[in-house]
């Protein structure tokens, strides 16, 4: 079952002006229910445009956006429903915070949904728990917080709407390693607890390799590759040519293999590489002892 499906999406910015720019040329992609899907592409590949199609912020020139089996543009008046059901976290979302306290800011989405006060409260606290925000931070002004904390408040603001599909555009951009782990940890907790679908847009191969089940590669407004991490990363040359490449550790393992070390091919994270090298080293030592 697909939580979200885009069919033959086409979109052109500033149509009929000297600044005309075709961003999407017939993109078809499906995101399976309950999985973490990665969407990768070089700058200008159409990622951010595609993301705004998903919740109806942009209306495609041609094609359909199917959310849980229904075209969201069938009833344009109810497009706000699509925004609640497909929660979108923009790049650098900390710049959207505006309320006096973090708690109120997180409650902005649920309030717009017209929920009652108890339900709003429950959602605010559960969203804060997902991203690991303490109760005392909730009472602070978002303008007093650090960058990473602000980012987590903004993320919680979308999670609090409890969308069936959570879309994140470069959620870890500009954060330090600790901030990255915290953000991705929060996203993972949300996905595992709710069983909802997550779509992560990124150009960091390391991040998508670590957190995503499936990958879709965009290039110049078209889908270049789509499939599991292993399926996509098998095309290292093609990915490198489109300015993306494979995770550094995967490349490292390939270079090792070329020099005669018999490591497995499907290594995409540092942890997996560690285990693999450990296995080979242990095997060698064991062999020498015998």
């Amino acid at each position: 079952m697909n939580a979200l499906e885009l069919r033959n999406i086409e979109y052109t910015y500033s149509k009929n002006t000297p600044f005309e720019n075709t961003a999407l040329k017939g993109v078809t992609v499906a995101f399976e229910q309950g999985r973490v899907n990665g969407l990768i592409g070089h700058t200008g590949s159409g990622k951010s445009t595609l993301v705004q199609m998903m919740n109806g912020l942009l209306k495609p020139d041609a094609g359909e956006v199917i959310l849980a089996g229904k075209n969201i543009w069938d009833e344009p008046k109810k497009i706000r429903d699509a925004r609640f059901r497909c929660g979108l976290v923009f790049q650098y979302p900390e710049y959207q915070l505006f309320e006096e306290t973090c708690e109120k800011d997180i409650a902005f989405g649920p309030k717009n949904m017209g929920l009652d006060a108890d339900e709003i409260n429950r959602r605010v606290f559960s969203a804060a728990d997902f991203v690991g925000l303490d109760r005392d931070i909730l009472q602070k002004s978002p303008f007093e917080l650090s960058g990473g904390q602000k980012r987590r408040v903004a993320l919680a603001g979308v999670m609090a709407m409890e969308p069936e599909v959570l879309v994140l555009d470069e959620p870890a951009a500009g954060l330090d390693p600790i901030g990255r782990t915290e953000i991705f940890g929060g996203i993972r907790r949300y996905q595992r607890t709710k069983g909802n679908t997550v779509i992560i847009v990124s150009h960091s191969m390391e991040d998508v390799a670590e957190y995503c089940d499936t990958l879709t590669v965009l290039k110049n407004g078209e889908v270049l590759r789509s499939g599991s991490c292993a399926e996509v990363f098998a095309y290292e040359k093609e990915l490198t040519e489109s300015g993306l490449g494979v995770p550094q550790i995967t490349r490292f393992m390939r270079l090792l293999r070329e020099r005669g070390v018999k490591v497995a091919e499907d290594i995409y994270t540092v942890d997996a590489a560690f285990d693999e090298l450990r296995r080979i080293l242990d095997g060698k030592r064991g062999g020498a002892d015998a």
């Binding site: 500033s14 002006t17 912020l57 902005f108 717009n112």
Partner: protein, 279 residues
């Protein structure tokens, strides 16, 4: 989207008007506007329209782009023309009369003149200045032209710097507004329904982050300028020295000819056909 608004937009190019000195272009724009206003009869207006078309051709900017720039004022033009047509009382026999509606020749004349005047001035001055001059060289020109005012302690350089910075940040702020609006829409904000109060309130989630980021940007810019030792006008040299060239002299002669033409047309009414007479 907000991005599509052309607000005094500059179209890069290499035409005669692009290469002219910004100081000269400011002077020429003033000359042009003054003479369009001085035009009195149909022949003079015809000359003004012809000259405006010549300017558009000189700038090598597509006519469709220039006409699109007039669009925002179309409503006001049509509206005023409408009132001119129906409310102007003429001295001669009405051209058309039905019930309370009476149309006089003068009404049509005034409406036509009004539309021609506004369209010419708007199209002409954008082609001379905003479409062909980058904001930076425009403020540079203004600064140079106003330099004599320094004698009476007008902070010309500071004003020019403020204008440069303001112009520079207009597109940035528009983009930022667009982004924040989208982010709040993604959380269900609704900017397009409800009464005036509700709509004004709905803008708060956009305005607050926008103000916050403007202050942040201003602070960052100030620091960056200080890091590069900006200390105001004193002792500051220029990367590009403005210099009048042959193009500027030719343009000045062209505009002078235009002005003379208008005055000649105004005086020798009888030589030319008058729209008013024909109608």
């Amino acid at each position: 989207m907000l991005k599509d608004i052309t607000l005094g937009q500059f179209f890069p190019g290499n035409s005669v008007l692009h290469r002219a000195d910004p100081r000269m272009k400011i002077i020429l724009a003033i000359i042009y506007i003054v003479f369009v206003f001085l035009a009195k009869n149909s022949a003079a207006y015809l000359l003004a329209v012809g000259f405006t078309v010549l300017l558009v051709l000189l700038s090598r900017i597509k006519l469709s782009v220039v006409l699109k720039g007039l669009k925002p004022l179309l409503f006001i033009m049509v509206f005023t023309a409408f009132f001119n047509i129906f409310w102007t009382k003429g001295e001669t026999v009405p051209l058309f009369s039905y019930g309370i509606i009476t149309i006089y020749r003068e009404g049509l004349w005034f409406a036509a003149v009004m539309i021609i005047r506004v369209a010419c001035i708007l199209a002409g001055s954008s082609v001379i200045l905003t479409y062909t001059t980058s904001p930076i060289s425009l403020t540079d020109g203004i600064e140079r032209l106003l330099k004599p005012l320094k004698v009476i302690h007008v902070p010309v350089h500071e004003f020019a710097m403020m204008m440069t910075i303001a112009l520079r940040f207009i597109p940035t702020l528009i983009e930022e507004t667009d982004k924040i609006m989208n982010a709040q829409k993604a959380r269900g904000a609704d900017f397009n329904s409800g009464g005036l109060v509700k709509r004004a309130k709905a803008l708060l989630p956009v305005l607050i982050p926008l103000f916050a980021s403007s202050f942040r940007r201003a602070g960052e810019l100030a620091t960056a300028m200080e890091c590069r030792c900006y200390r105001g006008d004193n002792g500051r040299t220029r990367m590009t020295k403005l210099r009048y060239s042959g193009i500027d002299i030719v343009l000045l002669i062209l505009f002078a000819a235009f002005g003379t033409g208008i005055i000649l047309m105004n005086i020798h009414l009888g030589f030319f056909l008058n729209f008013g007479m024909v109608l």
